[in-house]
C-alpha cells in the first residue's frame, strides 16, 4: 500500500522533468550550435555553448533562396487553407442540415477518407500532376493539399454545425431566407471557432508537409520550406552549424505564431486530433 501510494508522487514529477529535458535539449542543441562558426564546432565540444553569437551562418543562408521557399510556403498554405475552410464548410452544412437519401452514406465515405494511407496515392497523383502539366508549378500542390485535408475538415465542421441551434435557421426560413443565405449569414459566421480549428490544424500540417512537395516540385523556384532543409542539406552536408541555422529559420515561423496564440493552437490541435 505504501509503495503504491508513493510511486505517482515521485515517479510522475520525475517523468515530467525527464521529459522536459528530452523535449528541450534537442532544441537547445539546435539553436546553440547554429550560432557557432565552423571552426568553433571543430575546436570545442558539441556541448559547449557558443563562445560568442556568430551570425555568419544565418547571413549566408538568408542570402540564398531562403525567402523564395518562404514565399512559396505562404502562397501554397494560404491558398490551400482558405479553400479548405470554404469548401469543407459548404459540405459540412449539407451533411449537418440537408435531408436527402445519400446523406449518411456519402458522409461515411468522406470520413473513411481519413483512414487512407496517403502514400498509396502518391504515384497516381505524381502521374496525374505531370499529365495536367502542373508538375513543378506553384499550383502543383494545391489540388492534393486541399483534397487530402477535406475528410478530417468536413468531419470536424459537420460535428460543429450539428450543434448550432435549429431555431436560428427556422426563424430565418420563416423570413424567407434561402438556404444559400442561411449558410452565408448564419452557419458560416457562427462556425467561427470550428473554422479556426480547421485552419490551424491543416495550416500546421501543410506548412510542414514534405513528401508531396518533394514529389511534385523540383526547383527552388516552386518549392516550400520543408524542402529548403532538404535542398540545403545537399549544399551544406559538411557544414553542420549552417545546416542547423536552416533548421532554426524554417521552424521559426510556426514557433513565433505559436508564441502569440498557444491556447488557440493547442485547442485547434486538440479538436483536430480528437476527431481524427
Amino acid at each position: 500500500m505504501k509503495k503504491t501510494f508513493r510511486f505517482p508522487r515521485v515517479g510522475i514529477p520525475l517523468l515530467a522533468l525527464i521529459w522536459l529535458a528530452v523535449t528541450t535539449v534537442p532544441f537547445i542543441f539546435m539553436v546553440a550550435s547554429s550560432f557557432k562558426s565552423q571552426e568553433e564546432t571543430f575546436a570545442t565540444s558539441v556541448w559547449a555553448p557558443p563562445g560568442h553569437l556568430y551570425l555568419g551562418n544565418y547571413a549566408a543562408v538568408l542570402k540564398g533562396p531562403f525567402f523564395t521557399y518562404f514565399r512559396n510556403s505562404l502562397f501554397t498554405v494560404g491558398v490551400s487553407v482558405a479553400l479548405i475552410v470554404i469548401i469543407s464548410a459548404m459540405a459540412a452544412y449539407v451533411f449537418a442540415r440537408m435531408r436527402f437519401r445519400l446523406n449518411k452514406v456519402l458522409f461515411g465515405l468522406v470520413v473513411a477518407g481519413m483512414i487512407v494511407p496517403l502514400h498509396a496515392t502518391l504515384v497516381p497523383i505524381y502521374l496525374l500532376t505531370r499529365n495536367l502539366g502542373l508538375y513543378d508549378t506553384q499550383f502543383a500542390l494545391l489540388g492534393p493539399y486541399v483534397a487530402l485535408s477535406l475528410p478530417v475538415s468536413i468531419f470536424i465542421l459537420t460535428e460543429f454545425m450539428r450543434q448550432i441551434p435549429r431555431e436560428l435557421e427556422e426563424a430565418a426560413q420563416l423570413d424567407g431566407c434561402s438556404p444559400f443565405r442561411i449558410f452565408w449569414r448564419i452557419f458560416f459566421p457562427l462556425s467561427g471557432p470550428g473554422l479556426a480549428t480547421v485552419a490551424i490544424f491543416n495550416g500546421i500540417g501543410l506548412w510542414n508537409e514534405f513528401i508531396f512537395a518533394y514529389m511534385l516540385t523540383s526547383t527552388s523556384e516552386h518549392r516550400t520550406l520543408p524542402l529548403a532543409i532538404w535542398d540545403f542539406m545537399g549544399q551544406y552536408a559538411s557544414n553542420i552549424p549552417s545546416m542547423l541555422s536552416v533548421l532554426v529559420l524554417t521552424s521559426l515561423p510556426l514557433i513565433v505564431a505559436y508564441a502569440f496564440g498557444q491556447e488557440r493552437v493547442i485547442k485547434g490541435m486538440m479538436a483536430g486530433s480528437l476527431k481524427g
Partner: protein, 305 residues
C-alpha cells in the same frame, strides 16, 4: 416581407433551392476527393497489374505477377514486420508516457502551463527538420549523444545508431515517439478535462489514494480516448513514412524499412512503377482491413470523447 399564403409554390421553391444547395455545396468536395483520393487508389490497383518503368508507352500488362512476387518478397514482409514493431512500440511506450504526462498536467492545473507549452513544441516542427536534427544528434563521431555517453565513461553504449542494422529501427522509433508523444498527451488531456471534478473530490474524501483514483476512476473514464489513441497509433504506424525516409531511407540493409518507404524506393529509385504500386495498394488494403476489423471489435469501448 411577402409571406406566401398559398403553401404549395413556396414549398416547391424551397424544395428546389434545397436540392440546388445540396448539389452545389457538395460538388467541390466530392469532385476533389474523386480526383485526388478515389481515382489514385483505383489507379494504383490498376498500375499494380503492369510492368512499367514509368517512361513512355513501355507498360506491359502482367496480370497478378506483381502480387505473386509480393507474396514471396522477404523485403516486403520485413518492412511490414517493422511497421508492426513500430505499432507495438507506440502503444507500449508512447501511450503510457503520454498518459502519465497528461495526468500530471491535469493535476498541476495552471501551474503547468509552461510545461504544456514546451512539451508541445515537437508538434510544430516538420518531420524533415526533426529528422535532420536527430541525424546530427545520433552522429557516431561528433553527435552530442555519443559525446555525452563517452563523457560519462559509457563508451560501450556509444553506437553508430543509424548506421548499424541492429539499432537503426530502434533509434528511428525513439525519434518518432519524441515527435508524436505530445499529440497523444493533448488527446488524453482533452479526455481528462471532460471528467467531472466532483467525482475526483468525492473519491478523495472517501480516502481513496491518487493511485486508486487513477486506476479505478480516471482510466475507466478514459476508455474511449484510449481506444481512439490505440487505433490512431496502429493506423499511423502501418502507414508511417516521414522520419524513416529522412533519417535512414529504410536502411541500412532494409533494417528500418517500412512499407511506405519500400514503395517509394521501388518506384522512384528502382523505377518499377508497377511493382511499387503493388506495394502501395497492399499497404492500402492492409490499413483498411486493420481499421475496419479493429474498429468493429473495439466498438463497445467507444465513448463520446
Amino acid at each position: 416581407m411577402n409571406i406566401a399564403l398559398s403553401a404549395t409554390p413556396e414549398r416547391r421553391l424551397r424544395f428546389s433551392s434545397q436540392t440546388l444547395v445540396t448539389v452545389a455545396f457538395l460538388a467541390p468536395s466530392l469532385l476533389l476527393l474523386a480526383v485526388f483520393l478515389l481515382y489514385p487508389l483505383i489507379s494504383s490497383l490498376r498500375l499494380s497489374l503492369l510492368d512499367w518503368n514509368g517512361l513512355g508507352n513501355t507498360a506491359r500488362y502482367v496480370g497478378l505477377t506483381n502480387w505473386a512476387r509480393l507474396a514471396h518478397d522477404t523485403v516486403f514482409w520485413q518492412s511490414l514486420r517493422n511497421n508492426v514493431i513500430l505499432a507495438v512500440a507506440s502503444i507500449v511506450i508512447q501511450l503510457p508516457i503520454a498518459l502519465a504526462l497528461a495526468v500530471l498536467l491535469e493535476k498541476a492545473g495552471r501551474g503547468s502551463r509552461v510545461l504544456k507549452v514546451l512539451y508541445f513544441l515537437p508538434l510544430l516542427m516538420s518531420s524533415v527538420a526533426i529528422g535532420v536534427l536527430f541525424k546530427q544528434i545520433y552522429d557516431p563521431n561528433f553527435g552530442p549523444l555519443n559525446v555525452a555517453l563517452q563523457a560519462f565513461g559509457l563508451d560501450g553504449l556509444a553506437k553508430d545508431w543509424l548506421g548499424d542494422p541492429h539499432f537503426s529501427l530502434g533509434a528511428t522509433i525513439a525519434v518518432i515517439i519524441w515527435q508524436n508523444a505530445p499529440f497523444y498527451m493533448i488527446l488524453f488531456l482533452a479526455g481528462l478535462s471532460s471528467m467531472p471534478a466532483e467525482v475526483n473530490e468525492a473519491a478523495l474524501l472517501d480516502g481513496a489514494s491518487e493511485w486508486t483514483i487513477f486506476w479505478r476512476i480516471k482510466l475507466p473514464h478514459l476508455q474511449g480516448t484510449v481506444r481512439t489513441a490505440v487505433l490512431l497509433s496502429v493506423l499511423g504506424s502501418l502507414r508511417y513514412f516521414d522520419l524513416v525516409f529522412v533519417m535512414t531511407g529504410g536502411g541500412p540493409e532494409g533494417s528500418s524499412e517500412v512499407m511506405a518507404t519500400y514503395m517509394y524506393r521501388t518506384v522512384f529509385s528502382s523505377f518499377q512503377l508497377g511493382y511499387g504500386s503493388t506495394i502501395g495498394s497492399a499497404m492500402f488494403l492492409i490499413v483498411i482491413t486493420v481499421a475496419a476489423v479493429s474498429m468493429y471489435f473495439t466498438r463497445r469501448y467507444a465513448t463520446e470523447v
